[in-house]
């Protein structure tokens, strides 16, 4: 039983948390790709920028002496998401819209998004330095330990308060997104434009409005993902820059342009990463009692060494591109 609880702590909870963050990031990337047809690299900076906005708000709350029952990061999240959405709209207006107007190729937009990445990254580092920050400097990070001795486990089940909230918030947002895309007129228009942009225009759909809504959703969800990542670990200027490739991997594995694919892809990559570095000896140790001496398990038995954790996502990405470039949900292929 102890082993099972250990497995839950190490794989199920961490994989789920990581998967949620990847999924929220990948939704934005996949929507932008579906509507505007380019790979938006600066999405990482929307995430990091959003997290810093939330951090500033949380610090302001702390400075004003506002005490909240749940971590302040979650309380300020809605405000931060609004601000991040405005930031995303501003970036589009300032950098991508002029290029689109000129009829630039998607490749040019991709390069422009790298320029934006560098600028925002530079600005964040300029103001916040290269160090890391924590949301939990003024308040404790609550850790729930469930004692499972009753079912024969010597280890407790451990989950932190931000992790519980994170899983809940992701679930609610994904559900909300689902209803938006399938029930609301604007959501359907978004799907229509991703399906066939020319026909959407001909149908009289206000494509400029759809583009704006896309940026708002991408910015808000990106901010959510970034803030939650910062709440789970620490906040630093290259917070999301380091995980933008796994997020792209999630979007591509799920099928670019497919919102549900992005969610599935995010969870898949999240679990794959945690499973790949998981030390199986910890779970299989009881077998040592029945195994003959020459077959005793080595102290570490992981599929790949921990240093290569992020590499797992790239390998999955490359294999997907080779075997099924359209992804699991058949996204855009050409």
């Amino acid at each position: 039983m102890t082993e099972l609880v250990f497995f839950t702590n190490q794989v199920i909870i961490s994989g789920l948390v990581l998967g949620c963050i990847y999924a929220l990031g990948a939704i934005g990337i996949t929507l932008i790709f579906g509507i505007l047809r380019f790979a938006h690299f600066a999405h990482s900076e929307l995430m990091t920028g959003g997290a810093f906005i939330a951090f500033l708000l949380a610090s302001a709350f702390a400075a004003w002496g506002i005490v909240t029952p749940i971590p302040t990061g979650f309380v300020v999240l809605p405000i931060a998401m609004v601000l991040a959405a405005i930031l995303a709209l501003g970036i589009d207006k300032g950098f991508y819209a002029p290029l689109r107007k000129r009829g630039a190729k998607p490749v040019t937009l991709l390069i422009a998004s790298i320029g934006v990445t560098l600028m925002i990254q530079g600005l964040i580092r300029l103001f916040f330095g290269a160090g890391s920050y924590s949301f939990f400097e003024t308040e404790p990070k609550e850790v729930f330990r469930f004692d499972l001795a009753s079912i024969g486990s010597t280890r407790p089940l451990v989950i932190t308060e931000p992790q519980v909230l994170m899983i809940l918030v992701t679930f609610v947002s994904v559900l909300a997104l689902h209803f938006f895309l399938t029930r609301s007129r604007l959501g359907k228009a978004m799907r229509a434009m991703a399906d066939n942009a020319d026909l959407a225009q001909v149908s009289g759909i206000n494509t400029a409005l759809v583009v704006r809504v896309t940026w708002i959703i991408a910015g808000a969800l990106g901010c959510m993902a970034g803030t939650m990542l910062a709440l789970d670990v620490t906040l630093k200027p290259d917070l999301a820059f380091n995980i933008i490739l796994p997020i792209f991997a999630a979007a591509i594995v799920g099928g670019l342009g497919q919102a549900y694919g992005a969610i599935a892809g995010g969870l898949l990559i999240g679990f794959a990463e945690t499973l790949a570095v998981f030390n199986w000896t910890m779970v299989l140790r009881p077998l040592n009692a029945i195994l003959p001496d020459w077959m005793q398990l080595p102290p570490t038995l992981a599929l790949v060494p921990t240093e290569y954790k992020l590499t797992v996502a790239f390998v999955i990405l490359v294999v997907t591109l080779l075997v099924r470039p359209t992804g699991i949900f058949k996204g855009a292929s050409s």
């Binding site: 228009a189 799907r191 066939n196 020319d198 026909l199 959407a200 225009q201």
Partner: protein
């Protein structure tokens, strides 16, 4: 006053103009058919009306107002609708969602219009929960027309509605077009099946090199030996 009137329209995609002075007038009761050789500017005329390319000269009057270079999201609420030739359905969306997209610009309740469309195309009611990409070519054409009718247009423009359809469906589509016209929707369409389409056209336009060559009723054009020889294949 005609429903739509093109006066000496010049336009193109930047560079040399494709339309060099096109004149046309359509009443609400008309079925207008544009015929002509490849590259004559037939589809381009429809696209110019719908704001999909730059009009550099002349006027396009719709309901007494110059609409040249207005964009589709302004034109659709005014009563114009357009069915492109290719890729004219949202393949990943259901039939019903396709129709809803046609009504995007309408703030009012459009359930009556949807009922009207379903009555016109009963097969669409059966398949309304199916993705449009799974339908046959003829059914897709119906979805595309249904989508365009959802905005309750006064002028419906169709770009080669019979392209790629089997002869049986061509007849069906042409009959539907006449039925739509009887319900009070003006029609302006480009057709390759020129003889067949001119047979029911109240107005026919023969274009060549981006200019009107012949104008008349459908019957007149079919009867004209010169038109028949040069443009209708003898």
């Amino acid at each position: 006053m005609p429903l739509i009137e093109l006066k000496h329209v010049v336009g193109g995609y930047g560079g040399a103009p494709i339309l060099n002075g096109v004149n046309m007038a359509i009443e609400k009761t008309d079925i207008g058919v544009i015929v002509g050789p490849n590259g004559a500017g037939k589809s381009t005329t429809l696209k110019a009306i719908f704001g999909l390319l730059k009009v550099t000269g002349g006027t396009i009057e719709f309901g007494g107002e110059n609409i040249a270079n207005s964009l589709p999201d302004k034109l659709v609420p005014k009563g114009l609708s357009f069915v492109p030739q290719e890729k004219n359905v949202f393949t990943s969306m259901t039939v019903e969602e396709n129709l809803e997209m046609g009504a995007f610009t309408r703030p009012d309740d459009f359930s009556g219009t949807m009922e009207w469309v379903y009555e016109m195309f009963p097969v669409l009611r059966e398949k309304r929960r199916q993705p449009a990409g799974e339908l046959s070519g003829g059914q897709r054409q119906m979805v595309a027309m249904g989508r365009a009718l959802m905005s309750k247009p006064s002028l419906l423009m169709l770009d080669e509605p019979s392209a790629g359809l089997s002869p049986r469906y061509v007849i069906e589509i042409f009959e539907t077009i006449q039925r739509v016209n009887k319900e009070g929707v003006g029609i302006l369409m480009v057709e390759q099946n020129a003889r067949q389409a001119l047979a029911f056209a109240s107005k026919g336009f023969v274009l060549a090199s981006g200019q009107n060559r012949f104008t008349g009723t459908g019957a007149e054009l079919i009867a004209d030996p010169e038109v028949a020889k040069s443009f209708l294949g003898g």
